[in-house]
């Protein structure tokens, strides 16, 4: 194991002592380096494999540096933009849904989020492309793909926001209010910071989901690495399929790795 988990012994001050188990993960340099090195090796291996194959005209067209670079960039945009929208929608929604005044329609909102994830993304993309959802009239392509991805990935972030805010000890909130902090102040200074680790875990899940699901965008002219995979499948060319699939996996692992670092950095001190 390259990760060292260190129990924090100095729980001197009262608010921290009142909280659920506290631990801090400090990763060693080696553990930070492992994933990028591993992924670089995978890419190098893929390059070596492909370059030793005898490539036909179809492979040569589908596997140019240009096509692959474009596909990777499109894929990052799809996953990135959709996750930004997921965060902008799901976290405020999660906050609102944990406030007492929303109790009456909380169920409906959660059901909607569940439907978003339950509906198969490929079906939703097709519906968007067909203009069946008349009220959202979007052009086929990037916008439609983003809508499909956002609908699919809202649930994990929303759920984690609700759980993260819900697990904050009632006594701390009471103490905060007792000290004269406003409702909004309690939310901003106590609840949200304490919920950040769980919310971030949800965002990380959403990111990885989006990298995977974005491969389906190839079917509606939104490009991405999916178009390489689909090209390989429809022309029965293993080398193309392998390239698309391995690059998607590498991208997902890389983004998960970066999100992990972001988690370490963004986690409030002392948690």
């Amino acid at each position: 194991m390259t990760t060292s988990v260190e129990q924090v012994p100095d729980l001197g001050n009262a608010p921290q002592a009142a909280m659920a188990p506290v631990r801090r993960e400090r990763r060693t340099l080696g553990s930070y380096l492992f994933m990028p090195v591993f992924l670089a090796l995978v890419c190098a291996g893929l390059y070596l494999y492909v370059s030793t194959r005898e490539l036909g005209s179809i492979e040569k067209r589908a596997l140019t540096a240009d096509t692959i670079g474009n596909a990777v960039w499109e894929h990052i945009q799809l996953a990135g933009v959709s996750t930004i929208f997921v965060v902008l929608i799901a976290i405020p929604l999660g906050v609102v849904m944990t406030r007492p005044f929303t109790r009456s329609f909380r169920g409906i909102l959660l059901t909607l989020a569940n439907i978003g994830q339950a509906v198969p993304t490929i079906g939703l993309l097709a519906l968007l492309a067909l203009g069946v959802l008349g009220f959202i009239n979007v052009d086929i392509g990037f916008t439609a793909a983003i809508i499909g991805l956002v609908a699919y990935a809202v649930l994990p972030v929303l759920r984690n926001t609700i759980v993260g805010l819900g697990q904050v000890d009632e006594n701390i909130l009471e103490a905060g209010r007792g000290m004269g902090i406003s409702k909004f102040g309690v939310l901003r200074r106590i609840e949200l910071p304490l919920a950040v680790p769980i919310i971030l875990a949800g965002v990380r899940t959403a990111l990885v989901i989006n990298v995977g699901t974005a491969t389906l965008a190839a079917y509606i002219n939104a490009g991405g690495l999916g178009s390489i995979i689909v090209a390989g499948l429809t022309t029965n060319r293993f080398t193309i399929q392998l390239t698309g699939a391995v690059l998607t996996a590498v991208l997902a692992l890389l983004i998960d790795y970066l999100a992990g670092i972001a988690e370490d950095v963004l986690r409030p001190k002392g948690l």
Binding site: I58, A126, L130, G141, Y219, I220, N221, A231, L233, T234
Partner: protein, 311 residues
Amino acid sequence: MATTRKMRTAAAMGAALALLVSGCGEDEAGGGGGDGGDLDGAELTVGAKEFTESKVLAQITAQALANAGATVDESSLSGSATVREALESDEIDMYWEYTGTGWVNILGNETTDLPEDLYGAVAEADEANGIAWLPNAPMNNTYAIAVNSAFAEENSLTTISDAATFIQENAAEGTICAASEFLNRDDGLPGLQTTYGMEFSEVVELDLGLVFTQLGDTCNFGEVFSTDGRIVSNDLTVLEDDMEFFLPYNAALTLSQETLDEYPAIADIMAPISEALTDEVITALNSAVDNDGETEEDVATQFLEDNGFLE
């Protein structure tokens, strides 16, 4: 291989009918042997690929053979992607294959070294595998470029050459919707553009099913298969491939040589039926299934009856 009672009855009725009309049946040299239907006592299995057209063709064949006295196993009519393997391993006796598929996918040739007589070349080469190809039907289920009929009329487009000229003059309107396979194959878009010396202004990559709905909306031109029933329902016009770029995909019944040697009557029964299967006819049959929700079985019966193949 459980034969359903229904099928047995049908076969019996077919045999009885064949007896009644035996005056019309040709005298087969070394045929089925019985003096009733030409295929009395024959037990045959007809396979199909997993899409509508192949299943319709299989139904037509199965019913025609049953009509001639054969007992046809219904279990394989629902279609599968591994039908060629099934034929080679004698799990089925026959299915409809396309000449282009035979040349490229089965025999492993390139699309560039196309023989003059594709059917002849494929049939001859496949003999080595013990597979016989009956003469192909006129229907040709190949790639095609389609446009909205109104758009075609407005700009007087009838051939792909017309389209090439149109795109040269109206660069912004040369958008094409196509599925991934067409965009990547040598005998798809790359070769098409070279042959006709044109370049579509924008390529929109879609799932094949979405091409039909986006034609006229996202793009003016679309890749389709020439006998697809949705050409009818979406009121599309197929542009003629005047430079004969696309590989011919004529349908032909393929069967093991053994089966054909045992029941040579199959070739005679299928010849007139195959001849009647033109692009228009098969497109209409596909449309009846895909658009009107009829079963392949009913559509096949209707076709055989209308053309007098079911006496």
